[in-house]
């Protein structure tokens, strides 16, 4: 392995920390009586996603320059899906860029599948979340990721139609975050709100998360994970030199910092004091927005992008809850879908390339149109079909008891000790 491959492998090894951070955030923003369920669901979803992606995901995503199916439209080649063998057959996992991409994608698919768990908290059955994760990691994610990172038609918009360098996304603001966020929107719409969230009279009930410390600890872990994700993505998918990882790390950190400070300021002014859960969302929103742009913008631009992400998250969280009446306990739609789409657009606005090509903004807008107009209907339809075959929402009794007791048979925080003597003496 070359030193660059070793460095890239180190970055990939950081990615599970992003998953740990997101799991803690999702769990902390839910209710304590569903805490063990939320963490177990995160673990199971990562497991299902890794296997589904290995089984068929990489076969459909591929790697730029690999085997693929193409259509010919108006004299141009439209590369729409890869044609690799199933279950990684014939793929040498030897430290080559393609093998590092397999490993990164296996973890990234899990990261995308974790995102909807925040939206479905307190009412999404474990089996249904695993089935939904299999659909996401086995089909939706690889298809769109092929278009962006596998040499697909979005990546070729530059070569075929003169739109800048084609659609660009270094760390997965579109492929991972927006795809996961739009799936979260679909799942939330299909599941419906938690019981008691929208009463007959008055404004929606506030159902605060049970553990702000877990949420904020999760934020620190996500930073480490995102540093790895963005640096590995920039090297593997945009051809950045390993030394550029320093710029990537600086931009990622600055964007997150600006995102959280924007949220602290806004919530401080609106509510009289900062709101911990919204500030955590602002932090992750800044990280998400940085994923697209981290390798292409200056640190000053990264701060501006993070600031906008923080503002966007704060206002979309409120707007989604009311008046749209979408119950998203983890704020995943705002944090991952809205900030992801903003990051993609921000690349078209702020990125500067040495060759001064034009039309990059239009390539990015076409990418956004594809996410909203293709990925959202696809993931909505798949989850709707799944819901017809296997009800995704837990029974009313499960919501009353809490997901821990109802689906796992035990709570996360039992407040009693059972001694054997109590049974043997009777």
């Amino acid at each position: 392995m070359t030193p660059a491959s070793v460095l890239c492998l180190f970055f990939v090894f950081l990615v599970p920390l992003a998953a740990a951070g997101l799991s803690l955030i999702n769990t902390g923003l839910g209710r304590s009586r569903s805490a063990a369920h939320a963490m177990l669901a995160s673990l199971c979803v990562m497991a299902v996603a890794a296997i589904a992606y290995s089984f068929c995901g990489f076969a459909w995503q591929g790697f730029a320059g690999g085997a693929a199916h193409s259509l010919h439209v108006a004299g141009k080649e439209w590369n729409w899906i890869a044609a690799e063998p199933l279950f990684l057959r014939g793929r040498l996992l030897d430290g080559s860029p393609a093998s590092l991409a397999v490993l990164l994608q296996m973890l990234s698919a899990g990261l995308a599948a974790l995102i909807p768990l925040g939206s479905g908290a307190d009412r999404w059955r474990l089996g249904a979340s695993c089935a939904s994760a299999a659909l996401l990691a086995g089909w939706t994610y690889p298809l769109f990721a092929h278009w962006v990172w596998g040499g697909g038609w979005l990546a070729q918009l530059g070569a075929n139609y003169g739109l800048g360098h084609g659609f660009l996304d270094a760390g997965g603001a579109s492929c991972i975050q927006a795809v996961g966020g739009l799936t979260a929107l679909s799942v939330t719409l299909i599941l419906g709100p938690r019981r008691g969230k929208y009463p007959t009279y008055g404004t929606p009930a506030a159902i605060p998360g049970y553990d702000a410390v877990a949420v904020l600890l999760g934020c620190f872990l996500t930073l480490l994970g995102w540093l790895g994700l963005n640096a590995a993505g920039a090297i593997l998918f945009t051809g950045a030199e390993p030394g550029r990882a320093v710029l990537v790390a600086a931009n990622t950190t600055l964007s997150a910092a600006a995102g959280v400070l924007a949220t602290v300021a806004i919530t401080g002014v609106r509510f009289g004091r900062p709101d911990a859960s919204l500030c955590a969302n602002g932090w992750v929103g800044g990280l998400v927005a940085s994923s697209a742009v981290c390798a292409f913008v200056t640190p000053a631009a990264a701060v501006a992008i993070g600031l906008v992400a923080g503002v966007l998250v704060t206002f979309t969280v409120a707007y989604i809850e009311w008046p749209l009446s979408i119950d998203d306990p983890g704020g995943a739609i705002s944090v991952h879908a809205a900030s992801g789409l903003w990051g993609v657009l921000a690349l078209g606005i702020f990125a500067r390339f040495p060759d001064h090509v034009s039309g990059q903004w239009l390539a990015q807008v076409v990418g956004v149109a594809t996410l909203i107009g293709f990925v959202l209907p696809l993931t909505y339809s798949l989850n709707w079909l799944l819901n017809r075959l296997y009800s995704q929402r837990v029974a009313p009794e499960g919501e009353r008891q809490g997901m821990d007791l109802y689906e796992l048979g035990a709570g996360a925080y039992p407040e009693f000790v059972t001694h054997n003597e109590e049974f043997t003496q009777q």
Partner: protein, 59 residues
Amino acid sequence: MKLLGVLLLAAGWAIAVAAVVLLKTAPERGAFVVAGIGVEVLGLVLVVRAHQPAKGEGE
């Protein structure tokens, strides 16, 4: 309304992609791609409204 919303989402995407393929100049392409996103937003509004819970549902 859900189906109409989903169809509008897909139609907006088709407009955006068709604009890139069929049109030649950047302003024309830009205008039609943005129009396509406008159609998508309309579809998104319909899908969301179709799922809005009735007042007091599930209390």
